[in-house]
Amino acid sequence: MIRTENVHKSFKVEGREPLHVLKGINEHITKGEVVSIIGPSGGGKSTFLRCLNMLEVPEEGHIWFEGVDITSSDIDINIHRQKMGMVFQHFNVFPNMTVMQNITLAPVQTKKKTQAEADEIAIALLNRVGLIEKKNEHPSRLSGGQKQRLAIVRALAMEPDVMLFDEPTSALDPEMVGEVLDVIKDLVKSGMTSVIVTHEMGFAREVSDRILFMDDGIIAESGTPDQVMRNPQNPRTKDFLSKVLY
């Protein structure tokens, strides 16, 4: 479904050496797979995830999504992004719109759905995540956990083939983490291909088919949750896990 080949990304900050954040990433995420990315902060997890839908443009390497090289300059990236949902650490819900408008904006604007069809989908999704009674509220009236659930259904309304999560619970108060993780669990159980950057180790172990450990711009280790978490091969993985587990 998504294949990356030798993806490199550097950030150029004026007056400083370019920061080489991704140092050649080769990955293959297959249809239906749930992949969690763990690793120390600053290791390039977000950057890698954002390259997958070209929010960051890699300066070297290729990314194929459903067989199309989306790093190529003669494709229309918007078409492909419509098939890739993304959920951000800070929710990024649209404060100027109601819950319903947040959800139906993209399906209607991209002409995937009429307003009536989009409304129907939005209501079904809101029911599914327990937000239906908030449908006419603005996001300022929602808690963090509710905002993130809204952000998730906003992405789902586009009926994506893959979901990308960037630390979806890191900005939440502890008591709201559960409600968001439950929604994601539900989603992956329904077969949604997902790539999840997370610090929730228990969650990652429970839902993932595969875990990637990213450090210093490379994927230092990749394997099943049991392999990576119980029996890590790379000393850096061991070191990281010893700090975050227990």
Binding site: L55, N78, R81, Q82, F88, N92, N96, Q109, T110, M158
Partner: protein
């Protein structure tokens, strides 16, 4: 300066100050902000476009206006605008062109920072859903930027009511012109200055009062 003189002058000339002066000042300010806002939109659009020459032209104009004194621009407007236009223009119109251009340059920067003040995550979220840049701008960014921009328009109006006094040299009829006229008739400089100072101050207070109320309402509706 004597207070009785102030009263005497005001009773005799209040129409010049309050009717002619205030109406011209407010009208000139309104014209300036309306056309300034239009020009500001165009300049801001150019400045934020992906087309490099457009960006360069816009930033050159803005830079030029911000880098030269307003009084000089009023002079240039007064002498140049009538020469450039095929029909006859009043002094008032000529200087209002200068003020509008000046205002447009300041406002274009205010618009730009109002847009840039919208959280970057908003654009990213919109683009991640597959919206184009212009759809994201129109539906997500600009409606939020408007809340930052509207108070700036109000501020600009308040500032302009004072700045228009620069054009009184050309007897355009504003509040400061009324000072020049009445002083010419009475030779009581300080009394006349006192009167226009009070008028400017009161106008300013009234406008700021409404502006603050409006801003508070904007914030509540967030």
């Amino acid at each position: 300066m004597s207070f009785s003189n102030v009263v005497r002058i005001f009773t005799k000339y209040w129409k010049v100050f309050l009717i002619t002066g205030v109406s011209h000042t407010l009208l000139l300010s309104l014209i300036t902000v309306v056309f300034g806002a239009l020009l500001g939109l165009i300049l801001c659009y150019m400045r934020m476009s992906f087309h490099k020459p457009l960006r360069a032209v816009s930033s050159f104009i803005v830079d030029l206006i911000r880098g030269t004194p307003m009084l000089l621009q009023v002079y240039v407007g007064y002498f140049l605008v009538p020469k450039l236009l095929p029909f006859k223009v009043s002094e008032f119109m000529a200087v209002s062109v200068a003020f509008s251009i000046n205002s447009g340059c300041y406002l274009s920067e205010a618009f730009r920072s109002g847009i840039q003040a919208v959280d970057k995550g908003q654009m990213e979220a919109a683009r991640s859903l597959g919206l184009t840049y212009s759809q994201a701008m129109k539906k997500v960014i600009l409606p939020q930027a408007l809340k930052n921009i509207l108070p700036e328009l109000g501020n600009e109006f308040v500032t302009i009511t004072k700045d228009t006094s620069l054009a009184s040299t050309f007897f355009i009829g504003d509040i400061m012109t009324s000072y020049l006229i009445v002083r010419g008739n009475t030779f009581l400089t300080f009394e006349c200055l006192f009167i226009v100072a009070v008028i400017y101050y009161v106008i300013n207070k009234i406008l700021t009062f409404f502006l603050n109320r409006f801003e508070r309402r904007l914030r509540v509706s967030d």
